[in-house]
Symmetry: C2
Subunit: 755 residues, 2 copies
Amino acid sequence: MRPHYNGRILLSCYCFLLISFSLYAQQKQPVDYVNPFIGTGAVNGSLSGNNFPGATSPFGMVQLSPDTRAEPGWSTASGYDYNDDKIYGFSHTHLSGTGAAELFDILVMPFNGELYTGKQPVSSFSHTDERARPGYYQVRLKDYGVNAELTTTTRTGFHQYTYAAGSDRNLVIDLMHSADKGSWSFRITQAQIRVVDAYTIEGYRIVSSWAKLRKVYFYARFSQPVIKTVLTDGGHVKNATNVVNGTGVKAYLQFKNDTQPLLVKIGLSPVSITNAKANLQAENPGWNFETIKQAAMQNWNKELQKITVTGTEQQQQIFYTALYHTFIQPNTLSDVNGQFMAANFTTQQLPAGKTHYSTFSLWDTYRAVHPLYTLVQRSRTADFVNSLLAQYEVYGYLPIWQLWGQDNYCMIGNHAIPVITDAVLKNIPGINKEKAYQAVKQSSLQSHLNAPFDVWEKYGYMPENIQTQSVSITLEMAYDDWCLAQLAKHLHKNEDYRYFLKRSQFYKNIFNPATNFFQAKDDKGNWLPDFDPFQYGANGGNPFTEGNAWQYFWYVPQNIKGLIEMVGGDKTFTAKLDSFFTIDKQSDHINNNASGFIGQYAHGNEPSHHVAYLYSYAGMPAKTQYYTAKIMRELYTTTSAGYAGNEDCGQMSAWYVLSALGFYPVNPANGVYIFGSPLFAQATIQLEGQKKFIIKTKKQSDKDIYIQSVTLNGKPYLYNYIQHSTIEKGGELVFTMGPMPDANWGRDVLARPME
Amino acid sequence: MRPHYNGRILLSCYCFLLISFSLYAQQKQPVDYVNPFIGTGAVNGSLSGNNFPGATSPFGMVQLSPDTRAEPGWSTASGYDYNDDKIYGFSHTHLSGTGAAELFDILVMPFNGELYTGKQPVSSFSHTDERARPGYYQVRLKDYGVNAELTTTTRTGFHQYTYAAGSDRNLVIDLMHSADKGSWSFRITQAQIRVVDAYTIEGYRIVSSWAKLRKVYFYARFSQPVIKTVLTDGGHVKNATNVVNGTGVKAYLQFKNDTQPLLVKIGLSPVSITNAKANLQAENPGWNFETIKQAAMQNWNKELQKITVTGTEQQQQIFYTALYHTFIQPNTLSDVNGQFMAANFTTQQLPAGKTHYSTFSLWDTYRAVHPLYTLVQRSRTADFVNSLLAQYEVYGYLPIWQLWGQDNYCMIGNHAIPVITDAVLKNIPGINKEKAYQAVKQSSLQSHLNAPFDVWEKYGYMPENIQTQSVSITLEMAYDDWCLAQLAKHLHKNEDYRYFLKRSQFYKNIFNPATNFFQAKDDKGNWLPDFDPFQYGANGGNPFTEGNAWQYFWYVPQNIKGLIEMVGGDKTFTAKLDSFFTIDKQSDHINNNASGFIGQYAHGNEPSHHVAYLYSYAGMPAKTQYYTAKIMRELYTTTSAGYAGNEDCGQMSAWYVLSALGFYPVNPANGVYIFGSPLFAQATIQLEGQKKFIIKTKKQSDKDIYIQSVTLNGKPYLYNYIQHSTIEKGGELVFTMGPMPDANWGRDVLARPME
């Protein structure tokens, strides 16, 4: 379609790239620091980040990455484990950092030898033959002598396979490949592969698993003609046909021998083959692998440049990789023509210029990832919010964890609420506030899984015998109610404000002054017996969710001041924090997700993430500075085990990004960032409208982790926090650091974080 | 939407009905003879017709009918068994006459007493309190004292429930209700019920079963307000919500007490709630049950008037009920706005004025139902063909058995081919012949389930050890190839003609002259040992499909003359037919579907359907007349056991309709109808363009079953068959009958059926 037009675009693009390259050669760019292998594999039995090293574009639909397992499971949720030594192929969709395995659509694997033997092609590989950069991945498949290179656009994958001279040039396209088929009631409802012509195949699979039902259509083009095809379904060869419909379909293709590498480009769509083809034609009409690869890298660089830092090579690697991980998702789920599949399984049409996103790991990402987006992804933040609202429209409430447009109800709380509240209160343009309010309110009234609001309102807490995970849910739900109350207040809905503000106090009903912990009650109001603050819960059957009473004690982000008072004031609170960070005792039954320990603090899972910042609320900012500096330095590395636990769709990364800048949103919806210990001599946040917010850190070193003084735009700044509205204006924040805590700085009651 | 406009339409409609009624009172109309209870329940352990008694509109999307089983199974595939005495509710979609249970979407059941007890409402009923007419069903639910009345438009159901005065007015809307959940890997992927307001609920279910994936959306309106609601999922009450998303959702609704009956109207759509609502607004905007009921009956009458007959009350009941059953499906699957879900799970848009149909039980219906449609449903025939072609477009080949737009591959052969061939050769307008040809050709080249064309072409038959059901498939595939050859010839594709004509001869390769039967060979060309012509096969694991070698011997509809020669000429052939109709010996393992026996002849299943007409090809028309007269009189009744076996989406009925008119298409794609023994003194086929074809039968009686002479338009007519092209012109065919065979009529070689 319109080849001339596309040709011109590409040409201009190419010229631009040439110019960029000349600049680029002179100076190392943010994209150059990204190491996609960080988080791809644990060591010594720790928890993997579950990131993938493959190619993807910012917030893209396609994540084209190697799968090192035939059926990736929970511990290899991204499909790749750095400790593995075999590759089963390159599939087009992956989750980054989740604790559950899904997607892995449209696996492509080059091989040689006999075209069809009934065995799945698999090759050993070595990390010495492997390279990854944002938007580009390369590996040598030892067993087949094939050099595989991958790149992407938003909705397409582009493969370049260089076979050994003279060898068979085979490829399998596998629609049966998936996560462990025993998990999540996995089921392929139907799939199709059709050989359109010697250069083209198309098809789809309809699959139900962690997402209730995904439709994944594809349209694939080859640079060289297919000369032999074997189509199979469920391992049975289907002769004499150019189309196979079934539940386990694969195409084995042999290509003409040639001295040129084989190029394969594949467009994806959640709507139709027609759209998959249109996506491919719009985003990658040509055959220049290098052009697309460079464009992908430039796209990444453009996004990563939104925050630039000066630091050591290692710090910059960690920082830019973290920023990269936060920009992998939410994932584009609409086609270039604006169509997408809504949560009620209908095809919907977006207004022009809008994108529909999914992959909302909200229990993780509402904490720091979404606040980060409000700084550097404002336009996308509106699209994210509108994508969440789209579920409300057809589903009756906002998603808990949304995957490919379908709520899988993973985890607890209704943390689309803080995300939306934060965006509205920060006045992100492009959001209908009234519609947002209705969605948030209804989602706080319509009972659904793990959110029985009738129980909530009747008891003023979740009784464990009625709603399991009751302590965690009570705490998190109270926070969501607080957000809703703020949104009501913002929109002058005073009655609603008072109503939900009251609900936001319910956490007080499960505080046991006898133990100074939040504890589970039954529906008679009795504390559950045999309380053990070290005991972990998982995802049901226990009052705590993936944590223990120690870790959940701190979860009142809407009222830390009140929490301090609850336990008797600053000293008791600080002492409790000290215990938290130092008591090494561990339960015999630690939840899988808890890892990265400093005492009871578990940086590997989200409930702990804000806790180091709480010292500041009790007038002990130096301890916040100490622990945040320690976590940044000890629990983030440049190895494949670079994260202390699952990276969780950007949350582990966003903690680092913000903490390294010097602040963190303890309450992710009140626009207040609490100071920690800034890591870089200089960091620049590129804001909208050419504005910049520059953070300078004088006397920055691994020992000089304590804030001595701060200035904002040259004037002394006495507060231990900064507001979003201040950052938004642009300006210069200067920290002066030292090796010992300043006796006074940030300790005054007035300096304490605003609530 | 446009209430004025709709109001006017309805008013005109109503006036028209008043006029109709005054005429109507004077004369019994075709619709008055229809008895929807025929075929709804077997007696003495015979096979049920599996028809439903509920309300539906001609070729409608909705079949609103009582379900007498909680989870209807194979033997109650329509949901209703006349022998049952309990009703579980009224669901909106049913299959008519199939041997497999599916659909049963959106069950509605009125009840009273406590609104939610955890138990499924169910009531006893009696046939004395039950009435059914085309488009209308009524029953008194004894246990609840509710009089239930149902009617329909094409895409909507309309319920009128008259509760006992003062009783609770409860209703359950059940999206969990289905066929036996253990069968067909039944699975509800997701469902939703949402209480929109006191008068409205909406929702959907996404369900995979015999059809791979169906999306069924609904929009329901009530005449009175809901005053209490209980929503459940999987038997768990969901408090404090007006929406429930899950896999087993139900709504228990209590309505305001009122002296008026409760009216419930529900629109369905396979695309979206929006479309379901639009369907309801377009087809039933008001609240007049009687108006819609009368309109439904008038719609039926309009269709049934296409063939009018004079006969006994019983004969007319059987005839018009049979005609009614042939017009229940194929079912409308597109919405009023022309959208439908295509076989590749995308939403497609029809051109204005077109309808998309599904429910193609082709192995049954290609034999007589589709030829009947070419006479009296010409416009719909084009839509049927185009609906079949729509699958080809996205699926690569035509359907085997298409249910709600999805091929379930039930049975064998590719009998969309004779359907399309017949329609094209009869020059039905609105079909793109070239497109139809490509679909037919590709479906005869693209191997798929039970149709491995590479094996077919390699061996010239299906070897049983490679493709089971090999004899049945070889015979039926040869016929489909013959059809394709004729289509090629018609379109002057001479090379293709020769190619497929050659394939159509492959049946000869499995004829064993030593036994005079078609028998299975292996891939070495050896006959399979231990041949027993009485032994039945089912649907795999045996050379024969739902029949035995006796029943399949006759399956060469494209060349009966050749078949006669194969066994040694007229006498041998006639003797073999005599044996077929008289040998009572039965295998110990009769297939379930074989029933309605006359010797080996089994009228209860399709392979026998054309056989009584074969005598005429061997110069013994009197025996055709004898057996067809016998079958019509003995194997069709007005009881619930009125069919000799499953009615099979109209095929059992179409056999009767055509045979009663006096002819039957032995070859369903050559436009030739073989004379049998006409049943009615007069029958009139209303053709297009005000033309009529009148069949008069002089001296017609139960004894005068033999044709003595025939005239066409007043002139002697010596042929024992009539061509479609002759009927199409209109005219008058007069049979003169007698109690004994005429010595000469129809016996001459020239009189024999044209091939």
